[in-house]
């Protein structure tokens, strides 16, 4: 057993999808099995990594034997692990959906890019220095843009173009910040930086550039203009990947920076992020409520839900462990629910040939599993119990109330009401008959189940809050005497 524990699961989680993606390029006919095998392998590798972290504490691996500050370190604590688990599970669900979704022509494009994206995401969540984070972030962004443009349709290309500009601009700003920090403190390793940086003009500029760039990539209001067209025009599995996972990557980096570098002195900036988050909740929800098409509605819902993630910053004074736990939990919850919702929207589009909400035409009887998936995911999105969305909202509300932040609490409550408004708008029309009834097209059972299982995941996660917090807390304990746990294989 101990030999299994010694395996470098983190390295496997990066190399396996890279190899799979390369195989897809070399042998396009095999891309579907290669893709599914790679994604399943990643799930197992992450399970192995999780086991190793629970046994031995924080995971560190110096690639090629060169440790920080010279070489590249792979690093995973509880927060990274939760993001990796999120990526693996949601990615698995979306992969099984994509298996039936794409035509052979699109499939040979989808699988290699998705596997490269998966490798980039895993590498990002396993990075311990801000330059590696930049590289992986750029890879993630480019793969995501390529996926958006996959079908080659005009609207998709337009959405992808805007997305490309936003993501390049975002990474550029981030990179400038990295350069400033490196110049100021002489390191790119987060742990080293944490000991060295002092608030001065260069650090403040870096903070501003990095935060703005990452907020742009995470689509924090008002930098969210690129998200709805990109997410709504992409094929359903791609929309799911973008909303569930890709925006979490840049959010994760910002969170790391804040928890380890900036949080101590940037109180004012925290307030600003929180304010934008609150505005995002209100604006995104109102826009979602106005939409007449499901995919745009779901995309605007993402803008709103990202707002909740940013409320963590002004509330983080409760302590890093709690803030990290809340962030990881909310991100995970949203990833499950939103991927389920986009996949369900894809099924509804396939079923009716359109995604007009008012013409859903008795979908609840003719496509019950899909509507159930949409409904369960919706319960979590609007934060009603029993679901992970409720628990996440409860944690935020509790933090807001104990700190006297009534404004934030009220915004969260209103956001929940608006979310209920747009979710039930869809569900209500799923019960009625359309004015011009149409024949239903068959939807493969696998695609219905993929959406439903992800949605059930969003509900079940609601009963695992203590497990998520335990993962975060184990690390805090280990962190206390880090010397004993830094080891390489």
């Amino acid at each position: 057993m101990s030999s299994l524990l010694a395996i470098d699961w983190g390295v496997i989680a990066i190399l396996l999808p890279l190899a799979g993606g390369t195989a897809c390029v070399l042998w396009p006919a095999l891309s579907k099995p290669a893709g599914l095998i790679s994604v399943t392998g990643v799930v197992l590798a992450i399970a192995g990594l999780g086991w190793r972290i629970m046994e031995n504490g924080i995971y560190r691996h110096a690639v090629g034997g060169w440790g920080a500050p010279l070489g590249i370190d792979l690093f995973a604590d509880g927060l990274s692990l939760i993001m990796l688990i999120m990526t693996a599970l949601v990615g698995l669900g979306i992969s099984f959906y994509a298996r039936r979704y794409f035509s052979p022509r699109d499939a040979v494009r989808f699988w290699p890019i998705w596997l490269f994206l998966l490798a980039a995401l895993n590498a990002l969540f396993l990075s311990a220095d801000i330059f590696n984070l930049y590289v992986t972030l750029e890879m993630t962004g480019l793969a995501a843009v390529a996926l958006t443009a996959l079908t080659g349709r005009i609207d998709a290309l337009g959405g992808a173009m805007r997305y490309l500009l936003a993501t390049l601009l975002g990474s550029l700003a981030y990179l400038l910040g990295v350069a400033l920090l490196y110049h100021d403190a002489g390191s790119v390793d987060i742990a080293t930086l944490a000991q060295r940086i002092q608030p001065n003009a260069a650090v403040w500029t870096a903070l501003g550039l990095m935060s703005a760039g990452l907020a742009l990539k995470t689509a924090l209001f008002p930098l969210s203009f690129w998200l709805p067209p990109a997410h709504a025009s992409a094929p359903a599995p791609v929309s799911a990947l973008l909303s569930a996972l890709v925006v979490k990557a840049s959010f994760y980096i910002l969170l790391r920076l804040w928890l380890e570098l900036f949080g101590d002195f940037a109180q004012g900036a925290s307030m600003l992020l929180g304010l934008l988050g609150a505005a995002a909740i209100l604006w995104g929800s109102l826009q979602a409520l106005r939409q007449t098409r499901i995919k745009l509605l779901v995309a605007y819902s993402t803008v709103a839900q990202i707002g909740y993630l940013f409320l963590i910053y002004p509330l983080a004074s409760a302590g890093n462990g709690i803030a990290a736990g809340m962030a990881a939990y909310l991100a995970f919850s949203h990833a499950l629910a939103k991927s389920a919702m986009f996949l369900a929207a894809g099924n509804l589009m396939l079923f009716g040939g359109h995604d007009r909400i008012a013409d859903l035409d008795r979908a609840v009887q003719r496509l019950p599993l899909t509507v159930a998936a949409f409904a369960l995911a919706g319960v979590s999105i609007m934060g009603l119990p029993p679901s992970s969305g409720f628990v996440g909202k409860w944690l935020l509300l509790d933090a807001a109330m104990s700190q006297g932040r009534w404004d934030l609490a009220v915004v969260m409550i209103i956001g929940g009401l608006l979310a209920a408004g747009y979710i039930f708008k869809v569900l209500g029309y799923a019960f009625t008959q359309a004015e011009v009834p149409h024949d239903a097209r068959a939807v493969p059972a696998g695609m219905e189940w993929a959406a439903l299982l992800l949605a059930i995941g969003a509900i079940l996660l609601g009963f695992m809050a203590s497990e998520i917090f335990a993962l975060i807390a184990v690390d805090l304990v280990v962190n206390a005497d880090e010397a004993g746990t830094v080891w390489t294989a």
């Binding site: 609007m382 009603l384 119990p385 409720f390 409550i413 009401l417 019960f431 809050a465 203590s466």
Partner: protein, 505 residues
């Protein structure tokens, strides 16, 4: 899961007895009528069995509690105390009867698997509401109840149903949001949400009192939506588009009762009745209940649609529970809490009967009811008992409630309640007696209104057995709950036990 030892599994079984059949039924094809019926009935009987077991146990001083970790510092708690068992017992008995009724009512109609699936989930949530041992568990099941009743309200899939569903949700989800805000605020102050006999707040410093009053307002507003307190009652008449068994269940046990039950819990087990009185929140609550009682009755007078008249009657009647709770004294408490059961029995009878009239003869309006007593004597006899109970004619159950409420008001030095009770009873009579007069003393028309397109011909029979037995049984239960109120197995006796525990600790 800690706390799973000993008696933890019985509360779980009560919840599971409705949950598991419901989940299985969702997966059943429409045509598996027999299997679905077996599942429904075995679930209902299992729940009665487990409830009876716990009643026996609690009567002999046992306690049943299931606890599992949910949030940091907060557990999910299912606990069977005497108050929860009162509600559980009511819901088990009425679930069984409503299931029988619904099977008869929906015979050959489409989407029954979906209907019975959500129907079972609705009972699951009600059981959870009844057995919640703290406010977070209560909140969870209370919101779940909103979600699972929505598909029942829009079951028919018409545009009217969809609109009614939106109205229903607008009210209930907004109420839920207020409740959530109140609960979080309370938790931020106290750090606990556990229900306990004297409340959890009496030891707090007086500087918290303004906040506690504000929280009380939030909680009551949130619960008042489901309990249909004026002016939050607007969803209830709209939700009448739902099929009759749904209306029956919504009005008698599930939704409005969850709201009323929540008010009981908040006043007694969170604030504690003495502390609530000290804060000065019980007086306004009693006034609000009194206004609702009179307003609902006045509105009921003007309704020609039978189900809408019954709906406004519910608005009025449910507030008797709140009134009894808000008057500080054991006798009023007894009157209010026992009305939880009495109103349930009487109102479900009335809705069953209204459903029978609609299903058998196509009667939806009061003015179509001339002479219907001759065509459907058993149904109208049950209706008459229910109506007499609502008016408060002895010895039907409603009289007991009103008697204790009146005595309690005098005991607590709140004589203004007496005119409210008398006025309400007069209004009850004014909207029920004309119906009875039409049904029994006027001549029937030459033909009954046209029935809906899925016409069912009952020939010489009054109606289907499955439709006739449930209202007759519930009417008799309402009668015996009043007639045998002083026996050891009556709801009144049980409620006296509850009041003793609340007041003489």
């Amino acid at each position: 899961m800690d706390g799973m030892s000993g008696n933890a599994w019985l509360p779980l079984m009560v919840v599971a007895s409705a949950l598991l059949p419901g989940l299985i039924i969702f997966g059943l094809p429409e045509e598996k009528v027999r299997l679905r019926t077996v599942l429904n009935l075995s679930g209902a009987f299992a729940k009665i069995f487990f409830t009876g077991w716990m009643l026996w146990g609690v009567y002999h001083g046992n306690s049943y509690e299931m606890r599992m970790a949910f949030l940091p510092g907060l557990d999910l708690v299912l606990r069977a105390d005497s108050l929860s068992l009162l509600f559980i017992a009511l819901s088990s008995v009425l679930w069984l009867l409503t299931t029988v009724y619904a099977i008869g009512y929906l015979e050959n109609s489409p989407h029954r698997s979906r209907f019975f699936g959500f129907f079972s989930l609705c009972v699951t949530s009600t059981s959870g509401v009844a057995m919640s041992g703290n406010l977070i568990t209560f909140l969870l099941f209370y919101e779940l109840l909103t979600l699972v009743t929505y598909p029942l309200v829009v079951h028919r899939g018409t545009e009217a149903a969809r609109r009614a569903g939106q109205i229903y949700l607008t009210y209930t989800i907004s109420g839920g949001a207020l409740l959530l805000l109140g609960v979080v605020w309370l938790y931020a102050i106290t750090g606990t949400l556990e229900f306990s006999p004297q409340g959890i707040l009496y030891h707090l410093d007086t500087t918290y009192h303004p906040a506690l009053i504000a929280i009380f307002v939030l909680l009551i507003a949130g619960l008042g939506v489901k309990a249909a307190l004026v002016p939050l009652h607007g969803w209830l008449p709209e939700a009448m588009v739902a099929p009759a068994p749904v209306s029956a269940l919504l009005h008698a046990v599930a939704v409005v009762k969850a709201g009323a039950f929540g008010i009981v819990r908040v006043v007694y087990d969170i604030y504690g009745i003495d502390f609530a009185a000290e804060l000065g929140v019980t007086g306004p609550l009693a006034m609000l209940a009194a206004v609702t009682i009179l307003y609902g009755s006045l509105r009921a007078l003007a309704q020609d649609n039978l189900k809408r008249r019954l709906a406004f009657s519910t608005v009025s009647q449910v507030s008797y529970i709140t009134l009894g709770v808000a008057i500080v004294g054991p006798l009023a408490t007894i009157g209010g809490v026992v009305h939880l059961v009495h109103q349930g029995l009487m109102k479900i009878t009335l809705f069953f009967c209204a459903g029978n009239l609609a299903e058998t003869l196509g009667i939806h309006k009061v003015r179509e009811m001339n002479g219907v007593g001759r065509r459907m004597p058993w149904t109208m006899a049950a209706f008459t008992l229910g109506a007499f109970g609502m008016i408060g004619v002895p010895p039907v159950a409603g009289f007991i409630s009103k008697w204790y409420l009146g005595l309690g008001a005098l005991e607590a030095g709140e004589p203004w309640v007496i005119p409210v009770l008398i006025g309400s009873s007069l209004l009850n009579a004014a909207y029920f007696l004309p119906i009875l007069h039409r049904a029994w003393f006027r001549d029937p028309p030459d033909s009954w209104p046209v029935m809906r397109d899925t016409a069912r011909d009952f020939g010489d029979k009054e109606t289907a057995w499955a439709l006739l037995l449930p209202p007759v049984i519930t009417a008799l239960l309402a009668l015996f709950a009043g007639l045998l109120a002083s026996t050891w197995f009556s709801p009144l006796e049980w409620v006296q036990l509850i009041a003793q525990r609340a007041f003489y600790h």
